[in-house]
Amino acid sequence: MFIHRCNCMYIPPDVLENLARAGVDEARVSIQQSELSRVKRSAKEIGMEAFTGVTTAPAGTASRQVYNCKNQWKQRVDLARGEGDPVTSDDAVNEAYEYAGAVRDYYRNVLNRNSVDNLGMNLLFNVHYGTKYMNAFWDGDEMTFGDGDGRIFVSFARSLDVVAHELTHGVTQFTANLKYHSQSGALNEHFSDVFGSVITQYKKGQTAHDADWLIGDEIMGPDLYGEALRSMKAPGTAYDNKLMGKDHQPDHMKDYYSGPKDNQGVHINSGILNRAFYLAATDTLGTDKAALIWYTALQRLWSTAAFNDAVEVIVESARLLVKSGQAPAGSVQTVRAAFKAVGLPR
């Protein structure tokens, strides 16, 4: 098998970056495809034919494929349920399948987006990964979910906001491709929490005012029933117990975390932005309009965007949507006020 390990780019990355920032979409696609290729090459050995497939993927059918890892530390062990297959005897498989469909349908029907890459990319899920694995992640082309330890966390595949959060990392990869560290990484996390909440509210028929705005409450185990991982409404209050400690998310830039852990705080500082989205949605916009503004912004951001950049782009996106009649008058001011309340721009 021939392994292609080229790391050459005809157009320098910094030139592409500037073009993308200026709104040249072709440059954005080039950067994204190059980044994706680098991620896949560094993560998995691939043959030349697979590398070619990454850069010239044809429009797909957004089909769901749920694999059962059978508690092995390997992905794609056993295809348990494919698109259109009947329910199985495994609850995690069935729920991952249903939630993947809910997320796919939201992006398609509400935001006119054809799967994660807007080209019908198939949705691959791995459930029952490892033993007592307390996590879920997106690795560039598929999602992986652990069963938790049964005490602190239960199965990560059995929560719609977890599934929507992870799939949105894929959407981000194929749009802004926000680098996963520091402020761009916190933005990446923020957009995933936003659409985790938005899609959950959509599925449950909730409004901004009757939603709980909690992230991860459905995966808390019996020892921590009632707790959650994050609160978009009140960052810093999601949990406080002996097992997990205290929720350390800030809700304002004055408490910004600048340490090294967690890729320089990507799950920590996202709280500041999450609070801003909550304020915008519950002020006058409602969740649906706020989501449309944020999704519009996600398509205009770039990989190294920082918080101040995101504020500027989100406000500009609101302005464009007001102009086109897709967002109500006053949206710009509502968004600005929401960010001002959390200390942005700085």
Binding site: A136, G216, K242, L243, D262, I268
Partner: protein, 104 residues
């Protein structure tokens, strides 16, 4: 054996750490850890020189592990996509011990 372990990130935004001298732990725990270290083959692994930061994959757990005993020591920095299968049982047990410490 001195063990320094940190696990951070992931969907839950975990921040766990566990630091121990196996000679000062309850015998059963210490023996278990030594056995897991041995079966993992960790001292035969060749960490990158210079050590690289793990590729930042969304919601992947990041692990930092340092072991030293007698004249040998090793330090690793990995994320979920990089962890060798043989190392998983040791990392899982260290994560459990770190959570147990939190609960005290």
């Amino acid at each position: 054996m001195l063990i320094d372990f940190e696990c951070s990130g992931g969907y839950a935004g975990l921040r766990l750490s566990y630091h121990a001298d196996t000679g000062k732990l309850p015998e059963k725990v210490g023996d278990e850890l030594l056995s897991l270290v041995k079966s993992s083959g960790v001292f035969d692994m060749r960490p990158d020189r210079p050590p690289r930061e793990p590729a930042a994959r969304p919601d992947a757990l990041n692990y930092r592990l340092s072991l030293s005993e007698g004249g040998r020591e090793i330090s690793l920095s990995l994320d979920d996509a990089d962890v060798p299968a043989s190392l998983r049982p040791l990392l899982s047990r260290l994560q459990e011990l770190a959570l147990h410490e939190l609960g005290k």
